[in-house]
Symmetry: C2
Subunit: 213 residues, 2 copies
């Protein structure tokens, strides 16, 4: 899961890797941006990295997997933040804080993140692969809610909260990705506040106004 590359040479045995997941990720993202996701074949990505197609599938389980590695790390972070959340904070508020805490990207990461998000809506195969990774996100929330409310995570309300909070965050992500008129955290906060307010009429009036980022 972590697989951190330490500074030391470490001198592992065996043939050294001729590429890395990160390199494949960068190459793939560039090719997807240039020619589109469906029009880019795995062979092309592998060729640019100087490896065979078979090697690509040793680094990622699917062509689409190349876009989700960072998302998966983010889910692990949310789990950790939720686990360390004080007990006296209400469930919905705890989720809101955890999501906002995790989504603090540096300015350098923003273009790549936006490129990823924009791609998802372009290809149906990509939108399809998303659900697999979203499941982990939802389960992180469901299990937290289950712990707090002392019921199984598969019960209706924990399950619903997991699904619903992810849905709200996805809406915020999408809205942010297609026009960058405000900070991502701003949209996430607005969407989650709307959920917490039960979509009352006071919330629905208008788009949240964002100071430019």
């Amino acid at each position: 899961m972590s697989e951190v590359e330490l500074a030391g040479p470490a001198a592992r045995r065996g043939r050294p890797p001729s590429t890395s997941a990160r390199e494949l990720e960068v190459i793939a993202l560039r090719l997807f941006a240039e020619h589109g996701f469906d029009e880019t074949t795995v062979d092309q990505i592998a060729a640019e990295a100087g490896v065979s197609r078979r090697t690509f599938f040793r680094y990622f389980d699917a062509k689409s997997g190349v876009l989700w590695s960072e998302f998966d790390r983010e889910v692990a972070n949310i789990r950790a933040v939720l686990a360390a959340m004080p007990e006296d904070i209400a469930v919905m508020e705890a989720i809101r804080r955890a999501v906002l805490a995790v989504n603090h990207y540096g300015a350098d990461d923003v273009p790549e993140l936006r490129a990823r998000m924009n791609l998802i809506s372009t290809s149906s195969e990509l939108a399809a692969s998303a659900s697999q990774h979203y499941d982990a996100w939802e389960r992180a929330i469901s299990e937290f809610v289950g712990r707090r409310s002392r019921q199984p995570a598969q019960s209706l309300y924990p399950l619903t909260m997991g699904r619903v909070t992810l849905a709200a965050c996805r809406a915020a992500y999408e809205r942010w990705a297609e026009h960058a008129d405000a900070d991502l955290g701003h949209y996430l906060d607005a969407a989650l506040q709307a959920v917490a307010a039960g979509f009352g009429d006071g919330v629905l009036r208008r788009e949240p106004r964002g100071r430019r980022r």
Copy 2:
């Protein structure tokens, strides 16, 4: 979209179809239940129906599409119900009523519906294909909310409400599919009420109690 089969013979010209979407649907559902989704090939389905694989793909655009035709019809119904909803009913309440109105299945349809739902969670490819059909559901809600709140359907709140209400309904469906201890409408109502209440602590206490159906 509709393609209603009228009672009259109508005597259309050309070669008569040697099968129907419904027949393929029934055969596929049976094979999926017997051997699993991934283990069943399109060739097997086509062979049982006495047609070629090529013909199957003329009736459905994908192997998974065979499971979603009824869902797609349901989306059309929700659209119609929402369009006919009186203006003086609040947005969230209107959505709740529309969802409950559409989900009145006859007792005969229940086993097939449950079989479909259970299949979705078994195959990752199926869960993947779902997002494509869910999009139409979400858009039906988003556009309704957009009309009511006089803003584009792509704005944050209409988008969020579409995603969130679908998420709640999916949780209810899933909960219902895996143990049939209550009416489906009962779960849908409970999940949507929880959303409308903003997941307040009063809602979260316990599972909704269902009279046996």
